[in-house]
Structures are given as C-alpha cells and as structure tokens.
Symmetry: C2
Subunit: 154 residues, 2 copies
DNA sequence: GTCACTTTTGAGCATATTGCTCAACTTGAG
DNA sequence: CTCAAGTTGAGCAATATGCTCAAAAGTGAC
C-alpha cells in the first residue's frame, strides 16, 4: 500500500458510498487507476470484512465488555473453537505470554452479559476470567490519523 | 433494525461489493425496499465508518497491543484528548471503575511499540500502564453469528 | 371489523456508473 | 538503454442508480 492507496482510502472514509468516478475526480487520478487499485486492495486483504462496519448497538447489543482469561495452553485450539461458538464473542486475541486471552464480547444488558461471562468461564481449558465492562468509548475506532500519515508518504 | 435489515447486512457481509439490485434479487425483495433500508441504516448509524474495514497491517502496522492504564479521573477529558492525538492509538475504552482505560494501539515493530507505549505513559494524568502484545488473532472480528440470529428473528 | 398508518412493491425513466478493452505515455529499476 | 509495471484517456455495451408514483399488503389501535 502506497500513498496513493492511502489517499483513496481516506476519501472513502470521508464518503463510504462515493463512486469510483467521484473518487478519481476528487483525487485527480484516472478512473482506471482508482478502479485497479481498489480491486487490488480488495483482493489483497487491505480491506477486511464488511461486518466490521456494523455497529453491535444496531443489533440490540449495546454493551461491550472485555474478558481476560487464563488458559491451559495445550488446549488453546479447543478453547479458541469453543469461544468462536459463542455468538456474543466478537473478537479474541492471544496475548503475550501464550496463557492470556482477551475476549471482546457484546451483550444486550447486564443480565445477558452475566450469562455470556458464565459461558466463557465454563469453557473447558479456561482457568480464570476477569470481566471489565466498557463504560465509555473515549476514542471510537479510527484509522484516519495513520491514513493521513501514509497519504503524505511518511 | 429488524430481521430484514439483518438479512441485507448478512448478504453484504458475504459480498461487500454487491449491488442493490443483486441484493434485492438474492433476498427476494424489491429493489426499492433494499435501497430504502440501506439508506435508513446508513443514516441511522447502523453502519460505522468505512475505516473499520481497513486492516492496519496494510498500513505497515502489523503489531497490535492493548495498554491498560490507570487515570486520575478528574483529568479524564484531557487524557482522552491526549490519547486521541497519538496516531497509533486506534481505540480507547473507559472500563468499569472509571479509573481504568483500555487503549488499543498498533505499531510497525517492537521498537515502534515501545515508543508508543512511552508516549502513552507520558500523558499527564496517566498513572500506571501495562502493555500486552496481541500475539494471535484467535477469533477475528466478526458479527455474523449475531446477524444470523437477528435474521431469524430471534 | 374498520380505520389510519407504514411499508412494500412494481413500474418507469433519465442519468451515471461499471466492467472491460486498447494503445500510448510515464516512471523507476537494473 | 531496456524492460516491466503503472498510469492515462478513450470508447462501448450492459447495468445500476436515484427518483417518482400509485397500488397493494401489512400493522396496530380502537
């Protein structure tokens, strides 16, 4: 990904529904170029799944919580699969140390969250968990600052 | 958001570049309906920014880390602003307790991460931090399971 | 059941976009 | 210089979009 790609993505971030023609005009590039680069980015894994744009709040899951878990590392694969089977589990990272997991979950309300936390703790191979509720989104997910830097070639 | 909206989003998740016409046909809905619902979702905040689809790896920031920080809660606003000024800070949550922050950062390499962690610790109002590197993405961000549930009206 | 209200549908139409191809022109690396 | 890759402008057929409208179908209140 070069600076031009970053400029295209920035324009798209500003207006997700912008057409290729509009992007080309705005960026003073040929339509062909924008089209080719977009295809390349889409196929090259620069763009993740569309699901990422969907807000869980719209799915009546306004609560976000982070569960850290200690696992028996021999059962990491099974644990990982069991967590993936829980719908409310949105994202799981293996943290440094190989024994700690960070599980991002969403829930409809406090009771729902309690239930999900219980499901996680019940997974075979998970030893200990702590749950922290996300009270405020102080900085909503964003990549614009990095995109801007990349667009300027730095 | 109702079950029909969820079905539209599911179809879009499967093929982000699908046209409205294709979605309508696939879902056996009228093109008008799909178009109207998409506009409504886009304007109603169901869809978050396009940036969410961009992979930081493509921006030469293959490392993800989670920094937890303790803050003086009287300075929460200033701290929040200072964190937002760091480009590598991708997302910040205020966790239950009002005194803990979870900061998601990306970095180019270990050295870069060290630098960013230092910047965070240097923010006035931040008392203590711990940094955990995300070694593996065990469950990549996904909403499909919840979407499927919503699509079935449960 | 009836009324009012919202949503969906199908149709139509002008305009814009897409996907594709091609040849010519730049650009940077070796 | 020479090659390979990227960009550009042009063109073209097929398709999608944005918009409007009126009729049909659901929905909930009473």
């Amino acid at each position: 990904m070069d600076a031009t790609d970053a400029r295209i993505l920035l324009a798209l971030a500003a207006d997700p529904r912008a057409t290729v023609v509009a992007l080309a005009e705005q960026l003073s590039l040929s339509r062909n170029t924008v089209q080719a680069r977009l295809v390349r980015m889409e196929q090259g894994g620069v763009l993740g799944s569309f699901e990422r744009r969907i807000s869980p709040k719209a799915l009546d899951q306004p609560l976000t919580a982070f569960v850290t878990a200690q696992v028996n590392q021999h059962q990491l694969a099974e644990v990982s699969q069991a967590l993936a089977d829980i719908a409310e589990v949105v994202e799981v990272f293996g943290l440094s140390g190989e024994t700690d997991l960070l599980v991002r979950v969403v829930a409809a309300d406090a009771e729902d969250l309690y239930r999900v936390a219980g499901q996680i703790l019940a997974v075979r191979g998970i030893e200990r968990t702590t749950t922290a509720l996300a009270m405020r989104e102080l900085v909503p997910h964003r990549l614009t600052p990095l995109l801007r830097r990349a667009a300027e070639g730095r």
